[in-house]
């Protein structure tokens, strides 16, 4: 436990920041500074235009030396922004950095009370008085360094997860790539072409899939889910559930002593399997057997048994013969791995657009989603790349594309955000039907075309030039002709100012995207926050877009918010870089906000041990007594134990009871003792 220097006379320096006009625009900074001078223990008070600037920071260092300060208070912005800056300045002045306290008079004051200068100034005085009360009782603390495991984990094997895993492995870090499906590849492997270059999606993806499979630094764990997470940055213990696949790899066969055995991907088992189920990779538009692969380019090329569908007839076991690859008695296995950092890349799902009744998805045969369009237009898809109407198998000639289907929707049914890549893939779809179906006309119903990326606006220009028709207006509703199964699209041409009723052969809904069902579970396991709409929350939207508020956990791809492929890959590389830094440094500093046991007060009752959400507490024998002991590296300083202890025997460093009581007193007593 850190020394409490009881006899030390506190000498506090207060520095009030103008932040240009951000603070000084509504708060009388001089008055706050003058007020600070009247407070007990304040040795010096000063103000400056920008405290975070070099001259501002120098003021702090100089005052510490000249005035022999014991504590520093800066009244400025949020500690989330500049606490590290001023801690460093405090340290530069020769004081322990944890003797610094920040009063937030910008985000929580001047910005919200812009039109109430008097009240804002009074509130700023309160904030300064409270901070001074705490600073008077602050003590020296020393951050704890812990070693970092030289391994990383990537959760999700789509293009983002694959890129992050490749970068980490190529940087010399052992990387576990965990994917819940039987193959890596993710959403991108379902796409036919990519905008704006019109590259074949699989052609540019499969080399990466092969790289991942071959990379010696990557341990690929498909058909595996995260079960449990313990620990903290540098030392995560992750329990994984390897779901029973029913088929063993050649390596597993060798381990079982079956020479030359294991799955070779020959597919003999599929021919004999009598069970037929819809293939989720083809969105249910093509069949698969109970023993299956998603598509020919899967990686790893190992078959999987769907035990929910399998009747255990054993025909596949016979067909497999001497390879003995099929094991119908296989059970889930749990394994635990230790990693230093984690990248989450859990991707997205399509919003269930049938919830918007007015567009008739799942009610009218010829209304499909864009992802279904991708499979129907793809040469390896269920129709061999021939786009057909589900109602009659005819080739559609007039096709309407409905943009913002479920996006930019504040009704509570759809999603309030822009899904960001629908404009561009719908332009691509328009190009594809013009190219593949002679005489076909795409009608694109849009509110705005958001072609924001490199060469995207040029792509928009090209598609318009190719003959796509653009109608500025959101589709109000769609009705089906019950005889022809043609669709009547009702909208307003807002440029014309006239309502239109357009009869088309097929409608493609550019449905909104939403976080996957598993994202919520995964983020809870790793202790990551999410924004209101369920996307995982980055540490800072601009300055730390790959990190999270949980140290050692990083984000890549659409799980953080809608992104196209270039942005996903870019963020994945950023997340991999961020995740590699603690590993390459070898150790990380933890903020010393640990609970401490005051052994002379501890009764050894052990009630706190069960309360701790992080398993950081235990009971030990010391000098013949049972007392609680804190494993500092596990403690997050949440304060649960400190608030709970019936004997008041737990000292929360930096948030100790006397410090907090002093803050409350300073507020309630208005500075009077």
């Amino acid at each position: 436990m850190a020394e409490v220097k009881k006899n030390e006379e506190p000498r506090i320096g207060v520095f009030v920041c103008h932040c240009g006009t951000n603070i000084a625009g509504s708060i009388d900074v001089k008055a706050v500074m003058e007020y600070a001078r009247t407070l007990p223990n304040v040795a010096i008070a000063d103000d400056y235009q920008y405290m975070c600037s070099t001259p501002g920071q120098n003021k702090i260092a100089e005052a510490i030396a000249e005035q022999k300060l014991t504590g520093v208070v800066v009244a400025a912005c949020s500690p989330r922004l500049h606490e590290p800056t001023f801690r460093n300045a405090t340290k530069a002045g020769g004081l322990n950095p944890f003797r610094f306290e920040m009063a937030n008079i910008r985000e929580q004051n001047s910005w919200v009370h812009m039109h109430q200068p008097e009240e804002a100034t009074a509130k700023a005085k309160d904030a300064v008085r409270i901070a001074v009360a705490k600073a008077s009782l602050l003590e020296d603390l020393v951050p704890k360094s812990v070693p970092v495991e030289k391994a990383a984990m990537v959760v999700g094997g789509g293009v983002g997860g694959m890129q992050a895993a490749l970068d980490l492995a190529n940087a010399g870090i052992k990387t576990y790539l965990v994917e819940k499906s039987p193959t890596i590849g993710g959403r991108m492997s379902q796409l036919d072409k990519t905008f704006p270059t019109l590259d074949c999606s699989q052609c540019i993806l499969t080399p990466k899939m092969v790289d991942v499979y071959r990379n010696e630094g990557i341990e690929l764990l498909t058909y595996t889910e995260v079960e449990q997470v313990e620990g903290y940055i540098g030392n995560f213990d992750v329990t994984l559930r390897k779901k029973a696949r029913g088929v063993i790899t050649p390596a597993e066969a060798e381990a079982r002593g079956i020479v030359g055995g294991g799955c070779t991907g020959c597919g003999d088992c599929v021919d004999v399997c009598p069970v037929i189920k819809p293939n989720p990779f083809e969105l249910g538009m093509a069949p698969r057997k109970a023993i299956y692969i998603y598509h020919p380019q899967v990686s790893p090329l190992i078959y999987t048994v769907d035990f929910d569908a399998c009747v255990k007839c054993g025909l596949c076991v016979e067909a497999c013969g001497e390879k003995k690859a099929v094991d119908l008695e296989m059970k889930d296995e749990l394994m635990t791995v230790k990693v230093g950092t984690v990248v989450l890349a859990t991707g997205y799902d399509i919003f269930p657009i049938e919830k918007k009744f007015e567009w008739g998805y799942k009610n009218y045969d010829n209304v499909i989603t864009s992802l279904e369009f991708e499979r129907l237009i793809c040469a390896s898809g269920p129709t061999g790349g021939h786009l057909v109407r589900p109602s009659d198998g005819e080739t559609p000639k007039k096709i309407a594309f409905v943009l913002c289907a479920g996006s930019r929707d504040s009704t509570g049914v759809g999603k309030p955000y822009c899904s960001r890549f629908c404009c561009m893939y719908s332009l691509k779809h328009a190009h594809q039907i013009i190219e593949k179906i002679p005489g076909a006309i795409p009608y694109i119903f849009y509110m705005d075309i958001r072609s924001f990326g490199k060469m995207y606006e040029e792509f928009y220009y090209r598609i318009q030039d190719e003959g796509a028709k653009f109608i500025r207006g959101r589709v109000a509703n769609i009705l089906e002709d019950p005889v022809t199964k043609n669709l009547h699209v009702n909208a307003e041409d807002t440029l014309l100012g006239r309502p239109i009723d357009m009869e088309v052969d097929m409608v493609v809904l550019a449905a909104a995207v939403q976080p996957t069902a598993e994202t919520e579970k995964t983020r809870r396991l790793f202790g990551v926050s999410c924004s209101q709409d369920g996307w995982l929350l980055e540490a800072h939207p601009k300055l730390n877009p790959c990190g999270t508020t949980t140290a050692g956990v990083y984000l890549a791809g659409v799980c953080q918010g809608p992104k196209d492929i270039p942005d996903t890959v870019a963020q994945a590389e950023g997340a991999a870089s961020a995740a590699s830094i603690p590993i390459h440094r070898g150790e990380v500093e933890l903020e010393p906000y640990f609970a401490q046991c005051m052994e002379e007060k501890c009764a050894g009752c052990g009630l706190c041990v069960n309360q701790c959400p992080y398993g950081a507490l235990s009971l030990v024998e010391k000098d013949g007594r049972t007392v609680m002991q804190v494993t500092e590296a596990k403690c997050k300083g949440c304060g649960t134990c400190g608030g709970f202890c019936p004997g008041g025997a737990i000292w929360m460093q930096h948030f100790a009871t006397p410090q907090i009581v002093a803050q409350i007193d300073a507020f309630l007593l208005g500075g009077e003792q």
Binding site: E358, R408, R474, A476, N477, A491, T494, R498, D501
Partner: protein, 193 residues
Amino acid sequence: MAVKKDYKDQQLAEKLRDRKYYIPDSNPEFIKDVEKIGQTAAHMCYQCGTCTGSCPSAPRSSYRIRLFMRKAVLGLEEEILTDPDLWLCTTCYSCTDRCPRDLAPTDAIMAMRNLAARRDIVPRNFLQTVQLIYKSGHGVPNNDANRAARKKLGLDEEPETTHKYPEYLPGIRKIIDHYGLKDRADKILAEGE
């Protein structure tokens, strides 16, 4: 203000009328009044046209609810309140059901009608409806053709309303009189003669 030029030919003057949007033509308080009466955040309209696309009135008339929303946001009070199209909404609420911004364009229209009525700008047929309700309890009273149809369907000639129970008419009149609606309608109709 719109620039006025002196053309001798009135038809030509109308054809070449200055139709630009001028800030002084707008009343910034108007949208606030509409929102207060209609209880909907009309200024949040992003002009997608789902409303006009849903509207059963639009294909058969020059009524464009999106345009009214736009003009309300721009504060074009005079233009809106004197536009006869304002009264072509059937209040079916299709636009309100489908509005992706969760607005109630129907209620905005009703609010604007309210504001027009305050200035005695109401179409004659609406005022005549007030008179009919006062007289019979019905906006569209029963007639001989309807009576024959009802009889054919095995119904009483008069429906279960004030037509059958005229003793309830004084109550209806009391409500209408309380708001001075009938006197107002009579007065406006008389002035328009």
